[in-house]
């Protein structure tokens, strides 16, 4: 779980490609959601004046998105479901861009329909899905699990499209589908809900062969409840819903393919084509025309219907009223949709998304009419927008913009070396730029940073003649290799080995095999004469092995007919096993360079699967064109220990695993640059990743500070199982001991301790002794994971922290305050809003797009504010401020007269702020289920929890030897508790993490500045280092505390949510903490008493206090 990862995107001048494959507008007409071939979703803001602006890009799918649909009653929850080519399904919250649910099923959906029947259904409703499988799947909208299927008794086949018919007349919802073979089938929906829930087979009620192929849409006219519109790619037809008799067939012009349609009103329909045209027709009835020339069918239907009944077939013919078209880009494929909203202020909108990434909207008039002479009227385009428009309108920069000489160079590949903080960029013109990543980012983002521009240290390596397509820094993968080596491959299949320190070319390999698509290194355990070899994949599907020490090419395997998907090494036999996109396997003998075997089909699969134990390297990221994995996997620096990643040899082309943030995990510093390449293009961008947790760890000078609250949380879960309080005492003691020794190791072993804990959740009858044993075991395992020593330059860490603060602080709220920040925190102001991103725990990432901050309507006119995430931030910040005690909780006493201490004060403040943010981040991110999932033995927990902070306090106290009056108490000032309550409250109100962070940051900094100016007045010297450490301690405890609080909340409901109104403390002297302690103490005792009247814990608690006092 790396929820502390914060991201900032540096987009560059060019927008990433977004080839729209699915589009929808949310029910509130505020957001357009598009899905792309590249696998991302894009959220676009739609203003009430129908202006479009891209807001956010969501990364979560690793394959092309096939369809989108709403996943809840939109007024209650703004959720949208997306399905991808490879069977992935995600539910997204489109207001904040967070992924709510994810599942991967072995089904490829082409259409999804949300169905909910509130009075017959429990749960969140169903997603009715069809696609490349027989019949209709019913998927639970909440869990995304398959509930059941609608089965056809006759000629089951794939379903092309579906629609739900709510008929008021017959009081029954029906599901209408058309199969690939052109068979129309009808299932009862509302009356079969029970049978579905009981998993009984439900067969179709009716079926009819429609005599056309490639159905694209089926729509029911809810206005007349009679007509059924079915759009096929070569024709559209109108049926009578009563008996499915054909009323009209309209065939398309040659070269024209219909793509969909919708009923606008009674007898008025809209049909659109694949090339972006649409036509609005009035359906006229011949009889009606005969009677009264220009009256519509609906007016007359009553008079004619009873007369002849069904004797004569009615016929309908269409009259073209209006049309829409797009001027340029004729022929590109479009996906379109129509949104019918009758209520004001909503519009009737026809919308389309192009493969080029352009969105176009047409506002359809309520009553479309033709021109006076009867010829069709052209409806003009209301709005059109692309991602690139956002990029053009708002200032964007790429990370190397300010490197002297870089100018407008297009970066074609890049690699970040965290151990050196070097960003290496291969450019289109063949040069390789090496620059300090942090400085480059600062130069680009911050205002004063432009001063850095000229002095930005950089190197230029010149040796390639064509664009550099791939880079590899071998030392990052294996520490045994020379630190100065860098490999680069270019368009012309020339691979150069550089010494990056002396900037000289050590060797050039000429492969003559087309562009070098990726450079990989053999795993640790594979060595050729004790050296690791470099594997080089070229775009002619050949694989070359390079021996760096020997400066020669060992093998050039050229027989592959299809792109290389997978490379495996057989260390014993000295084989290179190459898996290709057509599921064939080639086995090469490395010594002799001969093709040993070539296998296809089942055998190949076995071969590729069998050597899982040997190391596997998949050139995932570097085959952006050939591989299905659209995204780049620019997963740099995997530590050598974790080389065996994802052996997922999927059959077929869909070897997926895209943008896994998990892959980013093993990076070793608090700061990282993730280069991202996009599929089918050279456009790339960079993401700056800040690891808040790591940053805090590094900045805190003491080992105790490595305590990972989440870890102790898990640990406490284990402890909770122990039933006897006596034993618990011993446990705590043990814990106490180990805590001081292996705290850092614990942080590493988090997942290890987590799993047993969950296991125990199920094993309820676990005895106490067993519990203890297990606890011991975990401890042991923890010790076995020593933390790798991290050597990160302190200056870089501080710079990182400052950059982080600059990026997250909302600037321009108050000019004076800005200046104070610049002065006292020694940070620089942002040039403009940055594109913040959020990496959630798994493989999901959301990035704001340039101009996101102008999407919020209420912030439009307020250009002075820069980087303010949302209006809400200010409110939240004010709330926080009012809860914040005036003095307590802030490092005090900045001695302005001494320069050196000013510096250290700044540092301390920064550390303090980061600590706060980390705690907030952690709190807001803690999933609710985790917080309230366990109702069992919460008493124990509270007891236990009460202890932990105490233990830690005693640790610190022993460490520091001296603590100021009252500060050693294991208590958190009441005000802090209320702050924590406030923050956990935010989480329940689904305040976004970024919002929370900004709000807290703003409030804390404001408070700090206020204090500063006050101090400056009375100049009261207070030593502060201890304070700061105490604060840190407290924050760490706080996280513990809040968890407890939350759990109490959720389990007992005895604690009301009084948080926001908790009293504000105004004591301004340093004794306030003590005051609060005394006030607070009885409180807590009562709490504990009321919940579990066991005595020992009382004693231990007192004992702890005593121990602190002793120290």
């Amino acid at each position: 779980m790396r929820c502390s990862l914060q991201a900032v995107a540096l987009w560059g001048k060019k927008a990433p490609p977004h080839s729209i494959t699915a589009i929808m507008i949310t029910d509130d007409q505020q957001t357009i959601v598009t899905g792309s071939q590249e696998g991302q979703l894009c959220l676009w803001n739609l203003s009430p004046e129908l202006k479009i602006s891209a807001k956010e890009l969501l990364f979560g799918h690793s394959a092309s998105v096939t369809c989108l649909a709403k996943a809840r009653d939109f007024s209650k929850q703004p959720y949208v479901v997306s399905a991808a080519e490879n069977g992935e399904m995600c539910v997204w919250n489109v207001t904040n861009g967070q992924r709510v649910e994810k599942a991967t099923l072995p089904y490829r959906h082409t259409a999804i329909c949300y169905y909910h029947c509130s009075f017959r259904m429990t749960g969140e409703g169903w997603l009715l899905c069809c696609g490349e499988y027989q019949d209709v799947l019913i998927i639970d909208a909440k869990s995304l699990a398959v509930i059941h299927t609608f089965i056809s008794s006759q000629s089951p086949d794939w379903i092309n499209c579906l629609c739900i018919v709510h008929s008021m007349r017959i009081q029954e919802d029906s599901l209408l589908v058309v199969s690939v073979a052109g068979e129309l089938k009808v299932w009862d929906l509302s009356s079969t809900i029970n049978s579905i829930q009981e998993k009984q087979d439900v067969y179709e009620k009716e079926s009819k062969f429609l005599d056309s192929l490639n159905c694209r849409a089926i729509r029911f006219c809810t206005y007349t409840e009679r007509l059924l519109l079915v759009v096929f790619s070569k024709c559209w037809k109108v049926y009578d819903y009563c008996d499915f008799s054909l009323l009209r067939t309209e065939v398309s012009r040659s070269g024209q393919f219909f793509a969909g349609g919708e009923v606008l009103a009674a007898h008025r329909i809209i049909i659109w084509t694949e090339d972006g045209h649409s036509f609005i027709y009035q359906l006229l009835n011949r009889w009606a025309q005969m009677g009264a020339a220009y009256k519509t069918f609906s007016g007359l239907s009553k008079s004619i219907y009873p007369a002849d009944g069904r004797v004569l077939k009615e016929t309908i013919y269409p009259h073209l009223l209006c049309s829409t078209s797009v001027q340029e880009n004729k022929g590109l494929s479009f996906v379109m949709g129509y949104m019918n909203e009758r209520k004001e202020p909503f519009y009737k909108i026809l919308f389309s998304g192009e493969v080029s990434g352009r969105i176009t909207l047409w506002h359809i008039p309520d009553v479309p009419v033709s021109k006076f002479d009867g010829s069709p009227r052209e409806i003009p385009i209301t709005a059109t927008w692309t991602l690139q428009d956002n990029f053009d309108k708002h200032h964007t920069m790429s990370i190397i913009d300010h490197v002297p000489g870089a100018g407008t160079v297009v970066v074609t590949s890049s690699e970040y070396v965290s151990s050196l903080d070097k960003l290496i960029c291969g450019c289109e013109d063949g040069t390789i730029l090496i620059t300090q990543a942090l400085n480059a980012a600062k130069a680009g983002l911050l205002e004063g940073g432009s001063l850095l521009k000229d002095s930005l240290p950089h190197k230029v390596l010149k040796g390639h003649h064509q664009s550099v397509t791939s880079l590899l820094y071998p030392h990052g993968l294996s520490s045994k290799l020379d630190q100065s080596w860098l490999l680069s491959g270019d368009q012309d299949s020339c691979v150069i080995l550089w010494n990056i320190f002396t900037e000289e070319v050590l060797h050039k390999f000429f492969l003559e095999a087309g562009p070098v698509t990726s450079l990989l290194m053999s795993p640790e355990n594979f060595r050729l004469r004790s050296d690791q070899v470099i594997c080089c994949v070229c775009s002619d599907h050949s694989v070359a092995l390079l021996h760096l020490e020997g400066k020669r090419c060992l093998l050039h395997a050229r027989k592959h007919l299809f792109p290389v998907r997978m490379i495996k090494w057989h260390p014993v036999e000295n084989f290179l096993i190459v898996g290709c996109a057509d599921d064939s396997a080639y086995i090469w003998e490395i010594e002799t360079g001969t093709l040993e075997r070539h296998e296809t089909g089942e055998r190949a699969r076995i071969i590729l699967n069998c050597c899982d134990d040997s190391q596997l390297l998949k050139p995932e990221f570097a085959l952006p064109v050939t591989s299905e994995t659209h995204k780049h996997k620019s997963v740099e620096q995997r530590p050598s220990s974790s080389c065996q990643f994802g052996p997922i040899p999927c059959p077929g082309l869909q070897v997926e695993s895209s943008w896994k943030v998990a892959d980013v995990k093993p990076f070793s510093g608090p700061f990282n640059v993730l280069p991202v390449k996009t599929r089918w293009s050279d456009i790339g961008f960079h993401i700056l990743l800040f690891d808040l947790e790591n940053l805090v760890e590094l900045l805190l000078p003491t080992p105790v500070c490595d305590v990972d609250p989440s870890n102790s949380f898990y640990g406490s879960e284990i402890l909770r199982r122990a039933k006897s309080t006596v034993e618990k005492k011993t446990l705590t003691l043990k814990r106490n001991k180990t805590a001081s020794g292996s705290l850092s190791a614990e942080a590493q072993a988090k997942p290890v301790s987590e799993n047993p804990a969950q296991g125990e959740n199920t094993a309820k009858s676990l005895g106490d002794n067993e519990g203890i044993k297990r606890q011991k075991k975990i401890k042991n395992s923890k010790k076995m994971h020593p933390k790798p020593s991290r050597k990160v330059d302190a200056n870089i860490t501080i710079d990182t922290a400052k950059l982080f603060l600059s990026c997250f602080l909302p600037w321009g709220v108050d000019k004076e305050f800005d200046n104070l920040c610049i002065k006292h925190l020694d940070i620089l102001k942002l040039q403009g809003s940055v594109s913040l991103g959020l990496a959630s725990n798994e493989d999901h990432f959301s990035l704001m797009l340039p101009g996101w901050d102008l999407c919020n309507a209420e912030m439009k006119k307020d250009y002075s504010k820069v980087n303010l995430f949302s209006k809400k931030v200010l409110d939240l910040s004010n709330k926080y401020m009012s809860t914040l005690p005036n003095q307590v909780g802030m490092p005090r006493g900045l001695e302005n007269n001494c320069d050196s201490s000013q510096e250290s004060n700044t540092l301390n403040t920064i550390v303090y702020l980061l600590n706060r943010l980390f705690a907030v981040n952690k709190l807001v991110n803690t999933p609710l289920e985790l917080a309230c999932g366990i109702d069992r033995s919460f008493k124990m927990e509270s007891v236990h929890k009460a202890r932990i902070p105490g233990n830690e306090i005693s640790n610190i106290s022993s460490f520091y030897g001296y603590l100021r009056n009252g500060k050693s108490e294991s208590h958190i000032p009441e005000a802090d508790i209320s702050l924590l309550k406030l923050i956990s409250c935010w989480r329940d109100q689904s305040v976004q993490v970024t919002e929370a962070i900004q709000a807290v940051l703003l409030a804390e900094v404001q408070q700090h500045m206020k204090n500063l100016s006050k101090r400056a007045g009375n100049g009261q010297p207070v030593s502060m280092t201890e304070d700061v450490h105490c604060e840190m301690r407290q924050i760490l405890q706080e996280t513990e505390w809040t968890r407890e609080e939350i759990e109490l909340h959720c389990t007992t409901d005895t604690l009301p949510l009084q948080t926001p109104v908790s009293p504000v403390k105004h004591d301004s002297d340093s004794n306030s903490a003590k005051f609060q302690d005394t006030e607070d103490m009885p409180d807590r005792c009562v709490l504990e008493e009321s919940e579990s009247p066991g005595k020992p814990r009382h004693h231990s608690w007192i004992a702890k206090v005593c121990s602190c006092k002793l120290c």
Binding site: D583, G601, E602, E628
Partner: protein, 289 residues
């Protein structure tokens, strides 16, 4: 090294011209060829022709399934498009020299999902290609690559449907509708499964015997497999059963063989077209969409 950086303007012009030719002429030629091949492939699957609809039932083909190693099982299966319309299975049990005979009920058909899926994937591929006929002008190489990727995805799935039969567990086979298709009903100690493996239509007959509740044998339910081996155990209802004999008979379906060849050829064509486009990648990638 001749490089584009050093290349003269004339060279560039020639390359541009070549690329234009590739996009405007060569791509369409390849697509035409692909379409022809795939149409041929889809004919093998006896796709219902559009417009004409059902012009009578699809033609029936009889396949006699056997195996060279044993003559205990003989099967005659009748394939009608993607459905098994008739089946006659003869099973000789050497133990008591008994000859068992089962046939499909007259009114029932069994869809071979593998064939249906493969056929649908092919028609999807054809549909993708049909939207890009000669009148359509490709503007960028990326566009062609995307189209090829989409087509190849469908073709690979089509091929994989035929080459990889579903791995079923024994309870799944027992629960499948196929066992209920026979008249007279299959005895409870027999299981039947039909699937496609590459170009072959395969019929497996499992003979079962019940495991005694007090049996000393370690009961371990078998997982999913295409072909279970004797000794595989499973639980069905309240009974524990073990496979005692497995009989597998198969027969080559000639048109499936053709279809697989067509798939392979068209996949290679697609890849070659992609490779051709990639040669010019340094040119097309910088063209605006």
């Amino acid at each position: 090294m001749a490089t584009a950086m050093a290349a003269t303007a004339a060279e560039r012009a020639v390359l541009e011209e070549e690329f234009r030719w590739l996009l405007h002429d060569e791509v369409h030629a390849v697509l035409r060829q692909l379409q022809d091949i795939l149409k041929e492939a889809s004919l093998r699957f006896t796709l219902p022709c559009s417009g004409t609809g059902t012009e009578g039932p699809a033609k029936q083909e009889n396949f006699i399934l056997g195996s060279c190693s044993t003559d205990q099982v003989k099967g005659v299966l009748t394939l009608q498009g993607d459905a098994l319309s008739q089946a006659d299975v003869n099973l000789k049990i050497p133990r008591n020299n008994q000859l068992l005979h089962f046939a499909f009920r007259e009114d029932k058909q069994w869809k071979l999902q593998q064939i249906q899926d493969a056929r649908n994937h092919v028609s999807q591929a054809i549909y993708l290609l049909a939207n890009r006929d000669e009148s359509y002008q490709f503007r960028t190489g990326a566009e062609v690559l995307k189209l090829m990727d989409a087509v190849m995805l469908q073709l690979t799935r089509a091929r994989n449907r035929l080459t990889t039969p579903a791995t079923l567990t024994l309870p799944e086979i027992a629960a499948s509708g196929l066992t209920r298709m026979f008249a007279p009903a299959l005895p409870s100690d027999l299981l039947v499964n039909v699937y496609i493996n590459l170009n072959k239509l395969c019929l497996t007959v499992y003979q079962l015997h019940a495991l005694q509740p007090n049996s000393t044998k370690n009961f371990r339910p078998a997982g999913g497999a295409v072909l279970h081996s004797p000794g595989a155990m499973f639980e069905w209802g309240s009974q524990r059963l073990e496979v005692s004999h497995v009989h597998k008979v198969e027969c080559v379906i000639p048109w499936l063989n053709d279809a697989l060849v067509f798939f392979t050829v068209s996949l290679q064509l697609c890849q070659q077209l992609k490779d051709k486009i990639s040669v010019f990648s340094s040119y097309w990638s910088y063209r605006p969409f």
